[in-house]
Subunit: 194 residues, 2 copies
């Protein structure tokens, strides 16, 4: 079967989510300088929702056919938190979230031949337990190879669940893609069976 869509994101988690749902997909990760775009948008007063949506759109607009762009941002106390660049930064990030509630916003934009045809931003709220520096340092040391690819420096689908006190919102949004809403659009528009 030919692929239903092209995923314009290098995220292994998103690819796995789509494949688990039984979709045939192609992957063509777009080259977008996310940090520069994010900084420029924030300087213009963009909201976290705007930032996630704009990055998802930029990724999707770069390829032809039916293309899915996706992006996730983490917002805490009005600031956006990125993927950590070092274990030390991951420890700092997690400790800044400790005992607090933060939001994960996952944007998806679907393009058909260069024009946007569907978009959605899913939002989830997560509250971390109050964590000791020693616990966080040990967690980062054990899991760095996985968490370095995640905003906020944790993976809820693995040991990162142990950082959390409370989770509100859709699991797929937390993993980085509002899968249910995407699938419903693909069924309604006749791209996949339903």
């Amino acid at each position: 079967m030919p692929p239903v869509l092209t995923l314009a994101s290098g995220s292994a988690t998103r690819r796995q989510m789509l494949e688990a749902a039984g979709l045939e997909i192609a992957v063509a990760a777009a080259r977008v300088d996310e940090e520069s775009v994010k900084a420029a948008l924030l300087a213009e007063g963009a909201t976290p929702r705007d930032v996630a949506d704009a990055l998802a759109e930029m990724k999707a607009a770069k390829t032809g056919g039916l293309v899915l762009g996706a992006d996730q941002v983490l917002e805490a106390g009005g600031a956006l938190i990125s993927k950590p660049e070092s274990p030390a930064e991951a420890v700092t990030q997690i400790l800044s979230l400790s005992g607090q509630t933060h939001r994960l916003l996952s944007a998806a934009v679907l393009f058909r031949d260069g024009a946007p045809v569907w978009r959605h931003v899913g939002v989830a709220r997560l509250t971390m337990r109050t964590l000791s520096p020693a616990f966080v340092e040990a967690y980062v040391a054990r899991t760095w190879d996985e968490i370095r690819h995640s905003v906020g420096g944790y993976q809820i689908e693995a040991e990162g669940i142990r950082l959390m006190a409370r989770i509100e919102g859709d699991h797929f949004t937390i993993l980085g893609l509002p899968l249910l809403e995407l699938l419903n659009y693909l069924v309604i528009s006749g791209e996949i069976e339903g």
Copy 2:
């Protein structure tokens, strides 16, 4: 490291959830005639919550040390739906849920040396899209080897997500174990680091 607890359930999904969270566990699946117990409890007027909780407790009470019992029931229109015994029954179950909202109740009971020390019942609400018989038959034919172990005959973590229009509630509860609440108890009681 010695195991933190014994999982008194043969469910591969529950074992994977606990292991993904970084817990060392032992598994000792208890032999409980679930269908007979369920029928007896329902005849006595038990609620779906009571049924899930009682089955979780029965499983945990059969082993020594720190033991986790878990059970999940599916309630739709006041009736409980079990694991399907044949592909034909899975098709009938899914079509009976099509276009409707149902509840998944996941009970966990923790025993220490034969006495219950903690319990929780998580509840999630799922709404299926209106599905055609042909689509459901093809889904069951493709996935029978996996869905035969799931109440209601679908797996949300795989292609079963394509049956759903709306999901409200905790993902871990949907998978069959209220993991977040369990982990919080294990941290608070000093069984695991936090």
